[in-house]
Structure formats: C-alpha cells, structure tokens
Symmetry: C2
Subunit: 228 residues, 2 copies
DNA sequence: CGAGCTTTGTGAACGCGTGCACGAGTGCCT
DNA sequence: AGGCACTCGTGCACGCGTTCACAAAGCTCG
C-alpha cells in the first residue's frame, strides 16, 4: 500500500463534478474531438473555467499549456481516479415501481454499474424477470453479495422498510448504499450512503418559486405533511 | 401575507435541509409528539444540533427556550417558508420508463406536487392513462401549462431530447425544471434547474469504494493494475 | 529562432457554511 | 419566591471551496 498515491484527498465538491466532466468528454470523443480546453469544457459543463482547471489539477498535470487537454487521456485519468476502470455490479433491493424502472434502464450497465441482482421480500415478485435479471428472495442477499462480489446496494423499498433493507445490505457485506426512500438511514461508520429524494428536490424548487412570486398560489388548497 | 418578509435570503444549504426537517416533523406529529428539541431533531435528521438551531433561526425565533419547538407550529412555518401552503402541480415530459414510474408514484401528490399532466412526443404513448392522468401530445404544453397554472416541469426524456423538452417547457411558461436526463441543460436566466443524475451518484460512491480498497477489483476483469 | 498568442497550473484572497461556546430565556421543583 | 435544569438563539472563529490573476509553458509563424 502506498499511502501517498491513493491518499490524495480530492475535495468532495470536485468528486461530484468529475462524473459530469467524464460524460462530456465521452460525448466529445464520440464526436471526434481529441483535444479540449478548460474553457470549452467549462461551457459544456455549466461551470467556469478556473474551476475546471482546479478540479483537473487534483488528478495531476495532464493538460498541455497553450493547447488544452487530450480527451482520450483525460477520460482515462478521471476513470482511474473514480475507480471506473472496472465494473461495479449493484444489487437492487425492492422490485416495485421504482426498482423495475431502474432494472429496465440500460444506462447503468453502460456506465459500468450492471444490475447484478434484484431482491424483494414479496414472494409474488420473486421469480419474475426484470431487465434480464430474475428477482430473488431478500434472504439470499448474503450469498448474492458474496458470490458476485457486490459493493454497492440500491434501496428502492417503501420508507418503512428502508432501514431494514439497509441493515440487510450492510450485514451482507455491502459498503456503499444509494437510497431512494425518503428517510435518513442509520448505518455503521465506514458505510457510505448517498440519498436521492425527489420530493426534497421539488420542495427546493418550490422555495425559489415562492420566493420569486412572493407566495402567489397557483392552486388554492392547503396541504399537510403526512407519514405512514 | 408578509410584505417584505419574503426577501429574507435563506442560505442554499439550509433550504436543502428544511425539507428533511419537515418530513421528520410530520412523522413525529403523526406519532403524537407535540414538542421536539433541536437535539432530537438533529439525531433524526442525521445532522448536529447547532446546525438545526441555526437553520431554524433563519425562519425566525419559533422555539421556546428550555422546552424546544412546537411540532405543529414549526411544520407550518417551514411549509410557509418553502411555499408549501398550497399545491404545486407539475407536468412530466416523457412518458417512458421513468415517466411512468413517476406518474404511478403517489408520493408526489401526497407532498403537494400532484402530477397535473404528462406529455410525450410519441403518438403511440399519447392517450394511455398513467396514474390517473392521460398522456397528451407535447404540442399542447403551452395550453396545459397556462390553463393549469403549472410552474414546475419534470424532464424525463432521453438525453438527446432533454434540451428540446426544456426549451418547450420554458416557452410554455414553466419557471422551474427538475431534470432526470444526464446532460447539462441550458436555460434563460431566471429559470431554476435542479438535476437528478443517478449515474453520477453511483460514480461518486465508486470513488469512495475505490479509495477505500485501494483500487482492488470486485469484478475479476480489466485488472490493469496501477504501477507505482 | 524569437515574438506573440494561447492555455494551463496554482498561490492567494475572499466568502460561505459549519461547529463551538455561551448568554439568555423558560419551566419545574422545593 | 428562588434556585436549578434545560434548551434556544447567536456571535465568532475556523475550514473548505470558489474565484481571480498571473507566471510558466507550449505552439505557430514569419
Ligand atoms: N416510484 C417512484 O417514481 C418513486 C419516486 C421517488 C421516490 N420513490 C421511493 O422509492 C421507494 C420505492 O418506491 P416504489 O414506488 O417502487 O414502491 P413499491 O411499493 O412499488 O415497491 C416497493 C417494493 O419493495 C418491496 N419490499 C418491501 N419491504 C421490503 C424489504 N424489507 N426488503 C426487500 N424488499 C421489500 C416490496 O415488496 C415492493 O415490491 C419508496 O421509498 C418511494 O418513496 C419512488
Ligand atoms: N428509467 C430509469 O430508471 C432512469 C434512471 C436514471 C435516469 N434516467 C433518465 O431518464 C430519462 C428517461 O429515461 P427512460 O428510461 O424513461 O427513457 P424512455 O426511452 O423509456 O422514455 C423516454 C420518453 O420520452 C419521450 N420523448 C422523446 N423525445 C421527446 C420530446 N422531445 N418531447 C417529449 N417526449 C419525448 C419518448 O417518446 C419516450 O416515451 C433518460 O434521460 C434517462 O437517462 C432513467
């Protein structure tokens, strides 16, 4: 283990932007572009040029002054830094509405995150095939995770079952979780959790709308928060 | 109605946490809790107590020292600040895999964001009913947005059509967009855009996985080891 | 071969958000 | 009534991230 090489602390803010650069670079490569400036990359990425340069500088000095960055090489470097030089199989917990949409979506496999397995607690869901993968019982999670060497789990269960799903994933050996349920998961230290909460996103938009219009109502009706 | 009260600039970071507090408060209320401390709220929300207090202080001084916050009243205040005292109808553009899952999901309506309309460019999709809403042609967007007073649009089309979808939404009068397509949308100033990119989330998880394991491959494939 | 243009890489200043500590206000109990 | 325990509200310092400006480096062309 070389503590110097892998211990480079890339700021979180930069890590969250690298995937965006990566996707743009891939598109540009497919368009035949083999060199790109920080200016252009910034324009396509919706950020400013100095930020792009600083972000990329954390990877090393892979640009050429007066020219720009070699697209193909930069793609490789970002992939290497993000750990995308190999596939990361994922397991989806919950074969409901959302789980089915995710399983049927090919975009994950294309980006290196093949859906290696789907599990559900509902016996009537087990056995059906979604996106080429058969739904299996949730009890088989430990064997599935071990045999397929899965590190990343996706929680797509109702909120009431999400903590249970997360506990099972952790117990099975998963170390990263992407959570779609609208609750805060409690996990042991060392387990990485990211959440995607669509209602939160809409509520943030609502704030700015309300701010802009000064509170003018599009629909005249009161609401109250509810939970199960 | 407060005249100049609406011009208080709440930090973005706080705005993104308020929906989390709101959901927790709703759950606690349903559990019969009528008063809550910043400590408890912090615990449930996965943050620390001073942050909760500072966040809530932007709304005003609605707590009682020595006691805590009155749940019901705090819910009302957060809803007011976020503009959730009335419904915000949304329109979904793209009735595909994801659009159908979103339409069939009741969670939006419950939280004040009813799916008022779904549009698609594909004639074969038009006319079908998803989650109680009939899919309509994308050309009718202007009339739909105007007649139903819609401010928020959801882009659920393939990436190649996302910019077109956004342009149509903006032209129709929508001022906030939630984008699920993995591209950076270009919109006029004053239009608020938030994106939800699942692949990006997975790639961020991948980074931390790779960092933790030092690059060891879970899948025995493409093990082009990193030399020193 | 050197002048001039282009673009990267980065040190430094700035600003925002976070964490901390503590004063101030409130309720309860004796 | 007074003391005590509790919790909010907030001023302040710190750290991270963003932004700027500029020197260093490379390319082109006369
Ligand atoms: N559908 C959407 O568009 C959408 C949008 C935003 C958020 N969400 C969130 O995603 C989650 C799933 O939504 P959905 O619409 O797919 O719900 P769903 O009810 O359609 O599906 C949930 C599935 O999880 C399974 N399940 C329940 N408990 C389980 C457990 N302990 N272990 C394993 N599986 C279990 C159920 O059998 C069911 O198949 C919810 O938390 C929801 O809030 C969904
Ligand atoms: N399905 C998922 O689970 C998932 C997950 C992550 C991201 N996404 C993203 O969400 C988007 C939609 O994914 P999907 O799986 O639903 O795709 P899809 O192909 O199933 O559906 C896209 C729909 O958009 C319609 N459409 C195309 N161009 C349009 C236009 N100009 N105006 C209006 N409608 C138009 C199509 O007719 C189709 O019905 C994609 O950008 C995808 O990357 C999907």
């Amino acid at each position: 283990m070389s503590p110097d090489r892998n211990r480079r602390p890339i700021p979180d803010a930069t890590v969250s932007r690298l995937p965006v650069y990566l996707r743009i670079l891939g598109e540009q490569r497919d368009l035949g572009v083999d060199s790109i400036s920080s200016d252009r990359l910034a324009e396509l990425g919706g950020v400013n040029a100095p930020k792009v340069r600083k972000d990329l500088s954390y990877l090393g000095s892979y640009g050429t002054r007066g020219v720009g960055y070699e697209v193909e090489y930069l793609i490789f470097q970002i992939q290497r830094e993000l750990g995308l030089t190999h596939d990361w199989p994922v397991v989806i917990v919950g074969a409901g509405n959302l789980g089915q949409a995710l399983a049927g979506y090919g975009g994950f496999g294309e980006r290196g995150f093949p859906v290696a397995a789907i599990v559900d607690v509902d016996a009537s869901k087990v056995g059906s095939v979604l996106g080429g993968t058969r739904v299996r019982p949730v009890d088989e999670l430990p064997q599935i995770v071990r045999s397929k060497r899965i590190n990343i789990g996706v929680v797509a269960t109702p909120a009431s079952a999400a903590q249970d799903a997360a506990d099972r994933l952790v117990a099975a050996g998963v170390t990263s979780i992407l959570n779609f349920a609208p609750i805060v998961l409690t996990v042991p230290a060392g387990i990485e959790v990211r959440k995607v909460d669509l209602a939160v996103e809409l509520q943030i938009l609502s704030y700015y709308e309300q701010r802009r219009t000064g509170g003018a109502a599009p629909t005249a009706r009161a609401r109250s928060a509810s939970a199960s």
